[in-house]
Amino acid sequence: MRLDKLWVVAKKDLAEFRTNKYVMYSILLMPLMLATVLPVIYLSAFVMMPPATQALDVGNEGISMEIIDQVVVNGTYEDTSFLRCELRDVVASNCRFEASNLTNCLVRDSYIGNSTLNGSALFHSNYQGLTTSGSTLSGSVDVSGVNEDIEFLKQFISFLLIFFIMIPVVLPTVMASYSFVGEKLNRSLEPLLATPTTDSELLLGKAAAIFIPCMLATWLSFIPFTIIVDFMVSGILGYAPLPDPVWIIGVFIIAPLFCIMSICLNVIISSKVNDVRASQQLGSLVVLPLVVFFIVALAGVFTLGPEIMLLLSGAVLLVDLAIIYFSLKTFQRESILVRWK
């Protein structure tokens, strides 16, 4: 393998890409949109209606009465502590409820722990270990430390990683279609193949011309994305979530592996089609397993952690090795001139 020949091929392809407005739009606009517009759109909802995480000051320190193991029906209560009580049709404020069942009750500025709410409404209160049925919780905070909204936000930020893996998957479909199918349509492959270069030097040179701008676009766009995400959600989470190990593995290991997969797959596709758009459409299908993986993760089947990401990296690497082998078999002088359609 002579790197100088490889680089000559890569430089020529890069020069051609610079003159192709479709390729340039794709390389510049797609990462820019995904890095800036996407987080703003998706995270605005969380910023505008941030889930509360701090316990509310409900002012129920001044408990003046305690009711234990009783059934309480009707009545309005203030500054009262209920322990193991059955409450029905009760209006309560500045109260504490522990191990109690509340049915058809209206509660505000209170604390409810390890209790059940049936057909009731809870306003501006703290709670933990609460089981609800047909009830409304408004402006209230789970003080157990487990906040479903926060957990969802964390998972959602991990889910956005899919778009950063999509960049190096989708961009090569655009670039490879021009690089391989375009060169085939232009009939410029024959004089190229007549030069004293090996098949692998030509293939890797062309692949490098796609890989380098795709990964540069991905990594450069990761910078504004990180800044925007951290700026938007650090107030909610109390810390800057990016970069974290999941994203580091995703952007710096999985994304390049998917990029290689996409390039090699497009080489194979290029041998079968004679149309740039058909090549792009078929090449885009490589994102499908990726989308399924992330949607399954978002649905909560598994949590996107470093271990899962490393497992995914290993799986993609194995697929890459197989596809590299097939693309090298496809990109041979004889095959290109005799078998490529």
């Binding site: 091929v9 051609e16 004089p191 007549a194 004889e334």
Partner: protein, 307 residues
């Protein structure tokens, strides 16, 4: 030198090239003529190591095309002009040539001079920075020829170099090829243009899957028609025809208006006897010439279309 031995190539069972044996000496221009699908391009592709033969061998300057390392060396010794120029249309003429010069390993300090030299010879140096996509077909062909020569190859393979060009562009290309011939470069020319082949080639091969004939244009003409003397007379009588037919060395006589077409074995010795006989018979001889059979006549006779 190019040596092909029993070279055969099949595509899905169809024979494209059948048992081709051919030797092309250094410094010669060899023309391959034949109809579409005759196997001419396939032969070039096998010699330039783009595809491998089904059987048989290719040696170029003693290098074996079936050996990957030697194939790489063969490619560095040859220049190829494919039937379609296949240039990078969004790049400039200069950038196209510079790319190929780099791939062929032309040293960086020599590249600019070489490209300038070629583009000046082809009269397009002042258009070097223009995008190739804006060029006419003739200009693209010139760039493609320059590309094939940028690394100063010992062997040049040209597939239909004047095909589809206007007469002026075709003339420029033809003259350029004549210059290359004078330089003593070995050229392998695939062409449908029999006039080009006749003017440019030392040796011509007529191909239709198999090599049907090979020789210089005049040798082929003699091989298929023998030699014919054309005598222009004021008038022709039957006695003149029978008198000439009876001469030794005459194999046939035909009348064509006021011309007598006499097939002879050796014009130098028989022509004086013909003239004497015609004068003896009272004929007024106006001119005596040898009938030139063109390569086209050879081609058409060989491929079944000739009279």
């Amino acid at each position: 030198m190019i040596e092909l031995r029993d070279l055969t190539r099949r595509f899905n069972g169809n024979v494209a090239v059948d048992s081709l044996n051919l030797t092309i000496e250094d410094g010669k221009v060899f023309g391959f003529i034949g109809p579409n699908g005759a196997g001419k391009t396939t032969t070039i592709r096998m010699i330039t190591t783009l595809i491998s033969p089904t059987s048989g061998t290719v040696h170029v300057n003693g290098l074996d095309a079936s050996d990957p390392e030697e194939a790489l060396q063969i490619r560095s010794h040859v220049g190829l002009l494919p039937e379609i120029p296949g240039l990078y249309e969004t790049l400039s003429a200069y950038r196209n040539l510079d790319f190929y010069a780099a791939l062929y390993g032309v040293p960086i300090d020599r590249r600019k001079d070489r490209i300038k030299e070629l583009l000046e010879m082809l009269e397009i140096w002042d258009r070097r920075d223009d995008i190739v996509g804006k060029f006419s077909k003739g200009m693209k062909q010139k760039i493609a020829i320059a590309r094939a020569l940028v690394h100063e190859p010992e062997l040049l393979f040209l597939d239909e170099p004047t095909s589809g060009l206007d007469p002026e562009a075709a003339l420029t290309v033809r003259n350029f090829l004549l210059e290359l011939k004078k330089e003593g470069r070995t050229i392998f020319l695939n062409t449908h243009n029999l006039d080009d082949a006749e003017r440019l080639c030392d040796t011509v091969g007529v191909m239709r899957t198999r090599l049907l004939a090979k020789g210089s244009p005049s040798e082929l003409s003699q091989q298929f028609w023998g030699r014919t003397t054309v005598v222009h007379l004021h008038s022709i009588s039957p006695a003149m025809i029978s008198g000439v037919r009876g001469l030794s060395g005459v194999t046939g006589v035909q009348q064509d208006g006021d011309h007598l077409l006499v097939d002879v074995t050796d014009p130098a010795s028989v022509n004086p006897d013909i003239v004497r006989e015609l004068v003896r018979q009272g004929g007024q001889v106006e001119s005596v010439n040898e009938l030139k059979r063109s390569l086209e006549d050879v081609y058409l006779r060989l491929l079944g279309g000739g009279k």
